[in-house]
Symmetry: C2
Subunit: 113 residues, 2 copies
Amino acid sequence: MARAATTSDVFNAVADVHRREILDALITGEKPVGAIVNDLSMSQPQVSKHLRVLSEVGLVSCRAEGRRRLYRLEPAPLQPMHAWLARYEQTWNDRLDRMDDYVQELQRREQAR
Amino acid sequence: MARAATTSDVFNAVADVHRREILDALITGEKPVGAIVNDLSMSQPQVSKHLRVLSEVGLVSCRAEGRRRLYRLEPAPLQPMHAWLARYEQTWNDRLDRMDDYVQELQRREQAR
DNA sequence: TAGACACATGCCGATATCGGAATATGATGA
DNA sequence: TCATCATATTCCGATATCGGCATGTGTCTA
């Protein structure tokens, strides 16, 4: 049985350091495979395989340009991860709450004026 | 070589659905192993092993009470995950930015008064 | 002290993962 | 058309993961 298929679960897709590095590399914009291979000094097949996994969970999309393939970051599937995390990040929640309070306070003063 | 040790990397620790469920179960407060076993209907050894992994990355702490062991959630190690994710959650960033702008706008009006 | 309870650990088999090496595919250009 | 470049795929071995089952460890209670 082992663990949930890496190809169907975003949490698993992102569990691998190299795949995270690839995503990081794509933040600045779409890139051909070769560029990623260079930037991260990983083997070309290795990068291709990781890109396949990322593609299967929807974290990257692909566009052909001549004999090159330009991969682009698709951050949307990360949203569920963020949603799950949000329940745990007390600090972050506190900050947002305080911020909300602050905004409402300012609004009250604004109206009372 | 395979993937980075599940015991050293928070991303990996959290990659398993069952471990996420255990963390979810601990959100409401510390619980003995038996309670988790009941709530999630997993086998006792299975829960114990997952708790061990979570414990090794620091996501749970343990306290002995008689012959029971109370496990408690320790969300701090999730912070790096959140930090990593933040770079990708455009929507979320936008919202915070707008909020910051709004606050500054209100402050300006406040001062100009 | 013996037995019951709560939990941890060890061993095992099935399966998945990852990386390397070699090779296939497909577009370009001479 | 043939060679070359860019990328994808296949095959393989080493290793890790996960769950089940059996058993070990430690604590309470009769």
